[in-house]
């Protein structure tokens, strides 16, 4: 599952994930559709942008956590932008390449 508010970045990360052999659900590009998706989607892991058009994606992360779905953050803010309770969640600093994404995904989820 992919949550990313910037069109170009969403397209790129989607491509990366597809190349890694994932079936991508999303992208969700705003908080509300992201929350809906997090509550219902049947996924192995999620990549979350932190800033969604001015709103933080932490509520989405909370839903995923409650459902036991692993996730990681991708953000232009880096580690500095993390909210309380998510300090240990891995953060990919934008921009990143496919290798970095793959490594981070392997850290949080066991995927084929």
């Amino acid at each position: 599952m992919l949550v990313e508010d910037e069109a170009l970045v969403a397209m790129l990360v989607e491509d990366f994930l597809t190349e890694m052999g994932c079936d991508v659900v999303g992208p969700a590009m705003r908080l509300e559709p992201g929350l809906q998706m997090a509550a219902t989607a049947d996924v192995d892991f999620a990549v979350l942008d932190i800033n969604l058009a001015g709103k933080h994606s932490f509520p989405i992360a909370q839903v995923l956590r409650e459902r036991g779905i692993p996730f990681l953050f991708a953000s232009g803010y880096g580690v500095a932008g993390l909210a309380e309770g998510f300090e240990t969640t891995p953060v990919l600093q934008k921009p990143f390449d496919r290798g970095e994404l793959e490594k981070a995904v392997r850290r949080v989820a066991s995927i084929g």
Binding site: E6, L8, A53, G54, G76, G78
Partner: protein, 505 residues
């Protein structure tokens, strides 16, 4: 009566009453009293002798003024006070001996000989004790000396000079006033807290302003400023009081009650300085400091801006990365890659320009559209018609729409209505009230172009326009390849295109 110059006048027995009278006792023995209204010592009345003997034995400066003339007899201690006027004062009439204060002594004599007493504290008189006039302060006590018949025969005066103490007091007062002024006018806030309860005993106008002019004098800090008790400041004061060590804090956050009852966050630089008594025990704590709230806020704002700028730069780099990576996947040649990548990066750059003009708060749709078709020069530009009401776009929507319009424009120039000399493009938008709120519609309609160009179906452009853009705006997008040319239609809820400012998070 035996009167001989230079020798002891009269019989030694006449002077026995002087006892061991010090320097003055010796001088009295040799003085020519016969030339004064007192007459020779042997003829002095008992009361004069007794009084003289009494004052000679005293360590306190005493002078006796005898008879209506006020003939002066004094002791060693008084001779020190008299300075260079001694020994000429001995035996002289007081109004002549202290000619510069004759009026003062005239009153003394009148009151004293009438049986009255006089007492002065720190009385200032100008005396010529060193050959020039100088102010002298004294405690003066006058009382009458009675003769055998109970009638006042003289006046006895105890003279204690207080000049040194008076001048010291004045210097202290001046110093105190100077400090008080400094305290009142200081640009920093200051207060003095007394005792283990830290009671306010002193505070300057700056401090009063800090605490919204509350009446705190005489109250313990915890009672005077109840809102700070839970913020650790009382414990800090207790620590200074117990250890006697000063404490400094910089940019310390404090929540202080304002005059309207609201509690406001302020930032202070301050020092708690213990004041100790002679035994080294802390009695007071001096509080001094500055309200640096504005500085701290400016610093925080700057940090926020730098952080935001960094975020924006990283996102832009990620966008450029996306353009490069994805463009390279769909092209046939290096030349095509170069042209497409440049075009897309420039489209992104133009969108940034539009947003920067508005401080990244958003943009007018007409500006976004105009910037997107700005690449067309001359006759081509005139074949693009735009129309629609004024609509405000959020920064995210503005960026995505700019990129989408760039893709449509490039496609039109390569394969569509702008690839020949006669085609045109009509860009129209509108807002209409629908069942679920207001809907925004944008239509890109090409006319007079070559039929059925379908290359937009694959690749970067089509993915952006047909999938990502409608996803972002929570709407739908469709592409029709009509006989007259391509028609692109985007529909989205108005709320989605008014996304919030990027800096608000």
């Amino acid at each position: 009566m035996n009167v001989g110059l230079g020798g002891i006048r009269g019989d030694a027995a006449d002077y026995e009453f002087l006892g061991n009278g010090g320097e003055l006792g010796a001088l009295i023995r040799t003085y020519d009293w016969a030339s004064t209204p007192l007459g020779p010592v042997a003829e002095w009345p008992g009361c004069l002798k007794t009084a003289t003997s009494l004052l000679l034995q005293s360590p306190v400066p005493i002078v006796m003024l005898w008879g209506v003339e006020g003939v002066m007899i004094y002791n060693d201690a008084y001779s020190v006070f008299a300075g260079s006027r001694h020994p000429q004062l001995l035996g002289s009439n007081v109004r002549e001996g202290w000619v510069e204060v004759a009026d003062f002594n005239d009153n003394v004599m009148k009151v004293g000989l009438a049986g009255g007493t006089l007492a002065y504290r720190d009385q200032e008189l100008t005396l010529h004790r060193k050959g020039f006039p100088e102010p002298v302060w004294m405690d003066l006590d006058y009382s009458p000396v009675l003769d055998e018949h109970g009638k006042p025969a003289g006046v006895i005066a105890i003279v204690v000079e207080t000049t040194e103490r008076v001048l010291l007091d004045r210097r202290n007062a001046a110093e105190h006033e100077r400090l008080q002024k400094l305290f009142e006018q200081a640009p920093t806030f200051m207060a003095m807290l007394n005792g283990p309860e830290h009671r306010f005993v002193l505070l300057n106008p700056e401090y009063r302003q800090l605490i919204a002019n509350r009446d705190v004098l005489g109250k313990p800090v915890a009672e005077a400023l109840p809102e700070i008790t839970s913020q650790g400041f009382i414990e800090l004061l207790d620590g200074v009081f117990q250890t006697g060590e000063a404490v400094s804090r910089y940019s310390e956050k404090i929540l202080l009650q304002q005059s309207d009852g609201r509690v406001e966050e302020r930032y202070l630089d301050f020092v708690y300085q213990p004041i100790k008594n002679d035994d080294g025990e802390v009695t007071n704590i001096f509080v001094q400091g500055s309200d640096v709230t504005e500085r701290v806020r400016a610093e925080n704002h700057q940090k926020l801006l730098i952080n935001e700028l960094n975020h924006r730069v990283k996102n832009t780099l990620a966008s450029v990365q996306s353009i490069v990576v994805q463009t390279l996947r769909g092209v046939q040649s290096k030349e095509e890659a170069s042209t497409d990548i440049s075009g897309r990066i420039l489209a992104l750059s133009r969108a940034h320009d539009v947003l920067t003009n508005e401080n990244w708060d958003g943009a007018e749709l007409v500006d976004v559209v105009t910037a997107s078709i700005a690449a067309f020069a001359g006759p081509q530009r005139s074949r693009v018609l735009i129309s629609g009401p004024a609509i405000r776009l959020g920064p995210r929507a503005a960026l995505s729409l700019s990129l989408a319009l760039h893709e449509l424009s490039t496609n039109a120039a390569k394969y569509g209505a702008l690839s020949n000399d006669t085609g045109s493009v009509d860009i129209q938008w509108d807002v209409a009230q629908g069942k679920e709120g207001k809907t925004f519609t944008l239509v890109w309609r090409e006319n007079g172009g070559p039929p059925a160009p379908a290359s937009l179906r694959q690749g970067f452009g089509s993915k952006l326009i047909l999938r990502v853009l409608p996803t972002e705006l929570g709407g739908t997008a469709s592409m029709d390849y009509a006989e007259h040319g391509l028609v692109f239609t985007l529909e989205a809820p108005v709320d989605a295109i008014h996304d919030e400012s990027l800096t608000s998070a």
